[in-house]
């Protein structure tokens, strides 16, 4: 201790401290400035994509989401939602919204895939977020396990989307859409970004591999032959009850009437 405090009083201490401080700040600055510049280099091709995306954004989205995607009274901020959210919302036609009803409906996409990609890279350039995926990058056939996927689906998804992914009702006219025929990448992106009323399933709650299992199970359910005849919509006993009260008892009463007529 004595030696250390003695050193502090020496005349050389001041200049040494000065050099050390300069060295630290310089290194930190260098590292910090190097990061964005390397990203910039990597995406020099996308910088035009970003500005293209920004142009589309200003035209089609900014009236609700704000000029800098900061959000407004009627629409959320898009800073940090990532390319995945844009790819899902715009790619499935949910955005731009047709009307301000309960929930954005799936419809024919307004923007083509290139425009969607441009929008996605603009939104991604605002702040880091989950990136978009492609159907090809999701090798669910190889990496997924459908039995595990079924269990995960029943635990995490079936309470809204129904046991067979047929969709279900939520409160006040909102709904969980049917998952039949939905492209694997949109299912993946929906899980990652949590659109509308859906919760976000981060990679810690459901790992990427588990997500692939869910997709594999859904694909299987989608293509599964209807065992035992017409599926009646896979919505449970309501349609079964409807069928028995119409066709079932209808045929039987019809035959009873016919039998009673024959006797005359």
């Amino acid at each position: 201790m004595k030696r250390l405090s003695g050193f502090r009083r020496k005349r050389i201490a001041g200049p040494i401290l000065m050099v050390a401080a300069l060295f630290t700040i310089g290194t930190a600055f260098g590292v910090a400035s190097a990061l964005p510049s390397s990203q910039h280099e990597m995406s020099s091709g996308t910088s035009t994509l970003v500005s293209e995306g920004k142009a589309i954004f200003l035209r089609g989205c900014s009236s609700c989401h704000g000029l800098n995607a900061e959000g407004g009274g009627i629409a959320p901020s898009l800073i940090g939602v990532g390319a995945a959210a844009v790819d899902f919302q715009v790619g499935t036609g949910r955005m731009p919204m047709a009307d301000m009803s309960q929930q954005a409906m799936q419809k024919k996409p307004l923007y083509n895939p290139d425009e969607t990609a441009a929008l996605a890279s603009y939104v991604a350039s605002l702040a880091p977020g989950p990136s978009a995926v492609t159907n090809e990058s999701l090798n669910f056939e190889r990496d997924g396990n459908s039995a595990e996927g079924g269990q995960l689906f029943r635990t995490n998804c079936a309470m809204c989307h129904n046991f067979a992914g047929q969709g279900g009702a939520l409160t006040n006219g909102k709904y969980a859409p049917s998952l039949m025929g939905v492209e694997p990448k949109y299912i993946y992106e929906a899980m990652v970004t949590g659109p509308q009323s859906m919760p976000k399933f981060t990679n810690t709650t459901i790992t990427p591999q588990e997500k692939l299992s869910i997709i594999k199970w859904l694909q299987q359910a989608n293509h599964e032959a209807n065992q035992g005849g017409a599926s009646l919509g896979r919505t449970g006993p309501v349609t079964e009850g409807l069928l028995v009260w119409t066709l079932g008892i209808g045929i039987l009463i019809g035959i009873a009437v016919w039998l009673a007529m024959k006797a005359k």
């Binding site: 079924g150 046991f163 009702a169 006797a263």
Partner: protein, 526 residues
């Protein structure tokens, strides 16, 4: 005598000498049954019950009513390696590995739905035609018993496979048990042999489903049919039909052939449904685990109205003396159904108390001639349809793009507003139909032929209806009001006053056309 007749005769003689059956058989094979399509609704119940016994027996050969854990390794790939109960695994085995197993399962389930539908439609027929009146009150009570046990039996049946949907249903049944004040938790513990779900429940309900309730059904159906036999079948009014005779066909051969044929037709229709329409696809639901639930979890339709009532009930709860009373479950799940079923069971006695009618009735009412009863029935059906609709509110919401909250609020109010409106409308329709009958008898059928008289007057030609039809339209006894209360009986009491009020309302009727009226008109203009 031919050789075959000789052999037949000696066999019959052999049996008769030992049982004395000939006299009984002769008497009963000539018994006459009236013929009408609506009398075959009860037969549909009986035949679907037989189908249920046969297909159910087939299913017991492979079903394993146990909740022990197994790992599935059967033919259905999407569930392979999944841990589940033996009950669920054996149901999958029946569906995918047993030859004809899935068809039998589906026949069994469709037959159960048809059984319940036929019971309800049969009940409608008996109610609206007044077939429950003296002397058939006991048979009405047995019928209500069969309906109630049918609901329970059906519920237990679809609870057995231990799939995600049936487990959800059992969970709700447990909640209803627990809602019984004070003893609820003990009852639930007793039924489940510990906390939910436990391992005791499915083996227990299996025994109730395949042994206790079918036994009860057999006993009650036997008594039901014996009473029909003993009291003879009711018949619709018509010429030559009185309270003292039965017009129809003898049991042998006409009725037996028709009934036998109808059994095969019912079996055929059930098998057809089982073959072409999937029912309760348990492999899609997955095995039951208390942590999972599916959107749109519904009971089968005969429980759906109960589920609808529970879904619309407001969140009411009281805490008293350290106990919680969950009115939100207790009211729609136990109290309301209790009141409805008690009222339905007691209806024949209530009606005869109101009308003061203690006579025997073997001729059926045409529904229009009992406007109050018909209106009450229509009102009850409206009540059931509204609660049933709310039972499927989520499916209705998604398929018709409605809001589930909107449906719930509509049914909450509709349950109290719509049935009385239906009552009033039905009663008015009945009285109008009575008026139409009266016109038809007095003025005949409108032919649509317009004739111009020499003086330029245009008239429509009316055609007299047949005498048989006239008889049918005028034979009914009008519901007379009770004698007006004597002045000193102003102290009737609340019960007496209520009875007098309802009796007056019940006696509202358009008088049937009489012979004198008809003759007077015949002499006159028309």
């Amino acid at each position: 005598m031919k050789k075959s007749q000789k052999i037949g005769g000696s066999v019959a003689n052999y049996v008769d000498e030992r049982t004395g059956a000939a006299k009984w058989v002769k008497k009963n094979l000539n018994k006459v049954f009236p013929d009408h399509w609506s009398f075959m609704l009860g037969e549909i119940c009986l035949y679907s019950f037989i189908i249920l016994l046969l297909s159910g027996t087939f299913l017991t050969f492979w079903f394993d009513p146990s909740q022990r854990d197994v790992v599935y390794n059967g033919a259905y790939a999407p569930l392979s390696g999944v841990s589940m109960s033996a009950a669920y695994a054996s149901t999958l085995h029946i569906s995918f590995d047993v030859r004809g197993g899935l068809l039998m399962r589906q026949i069994h389930h469709w037959a159960a739905l048809i059984f319940m539908v036929a019971i309800v439609v049969h009940l409608f027929r008996v109610f609206f035609t007044g077939a429950f009146r003296k002397p058939r009150e006991f048979n009405w009570l047995i019928g209500i018993g069969l309906l109630t046990f049918g609901i329970v039996e059906g519920f237990l049946g679809y609870s057995l496979p231990d799939d995600l949907l049936s487990g959800t249903g059992i969970r709700i049944a447990e909640a209803i048990l627990q809602a019984i004040p004070v003893v609820g938790s003990y009852l639930a513990f007793f039924a489940f042999g510990g906390p939910f779900p436990g391992t005791a429940f499915i083996p227990r309900i299996y025994m109730v489903h395949i042994l206790l309730l079918p036994g009860l059904f057999l006993a009650l159906i036997t008594i039901h049919l014996m009473l029909v036999w003993y009291q003879k079948h009711t018949q619709y009014p018509g010429p030559g039909r009185t309270e003292k005779n039965v017009v129809g066909y003898p049991l042998m051969p006409v009725y037996m052939a028709k009934a036998g044929g109808f059994f095969f037709i019912v079996f055929g229709v059930t098998a057809f449904l089982g073959a072409v329409a999937s029912i309760n696809p348990i492999w899609l639901y997955g095995p039951y685990t208390p942590g999972q639930i599916s959107a749109g979890s519904q009971p089968d339709w005969y429980m759906g109205w109960l589920d609808g009532l529970v879904r619309m009930s407001p969140p009411l709860e009281t805490h008293a003396f350290g106990h919680t009373i969950s009115w939100n479950i207790l009211l729609p799940g136990l109290i309301l159904p209790g009141i409805l079923f008690t009222g339905m069971a007691l209806y024949p006695f209530i009606e005869s108390w109101i009308s003061g009618d203690k006579r025997e009735h073997h001729l059926l009412d045409r529904p229009r001639n009992a406007p109050n009863r018909t209106a009450l029935g229509a009102m009850s059906i409206a009540f059931m349809i509204i609660s049933l609709a709310n039972g499927g509110n989520d499916v209705i919401a998604t398929h018709f793009h409605l809001t589930i909250n909107g449906i719930m609020w509509f049914t909450r109010f509709g349950l109290f507003i719509v049935p009385p409106i239906v009552f009033l409308i039905t009663k008015r329709i009945c009285l109008s139909l009575q008026r139409a009958d009266r016109d038809l008898v007095l003025h005949g059928r409108e032919t649509g032929r317009l004739v111009m008289m020499p003086n330029g007057e245009m008239i429509e030609v009316h055609e007299q209806i047949s005498d048989a039809k006239k008889w049918t339209l005028t034979q009914h006894q009008s519901a007379d009001a009770l004698p007006a209360p004597l002045p000193e009986s102003a102290k009737l009491g609340i019960k007496g006053k209520l009875r007098a009020r309802m009796n007056q309302a019940n006696a509202v009727q358009v008088p049937a056309a009489t012979v004198t009226e008809f003759k007077e008109l015949g002499e006159g203009h028309h």
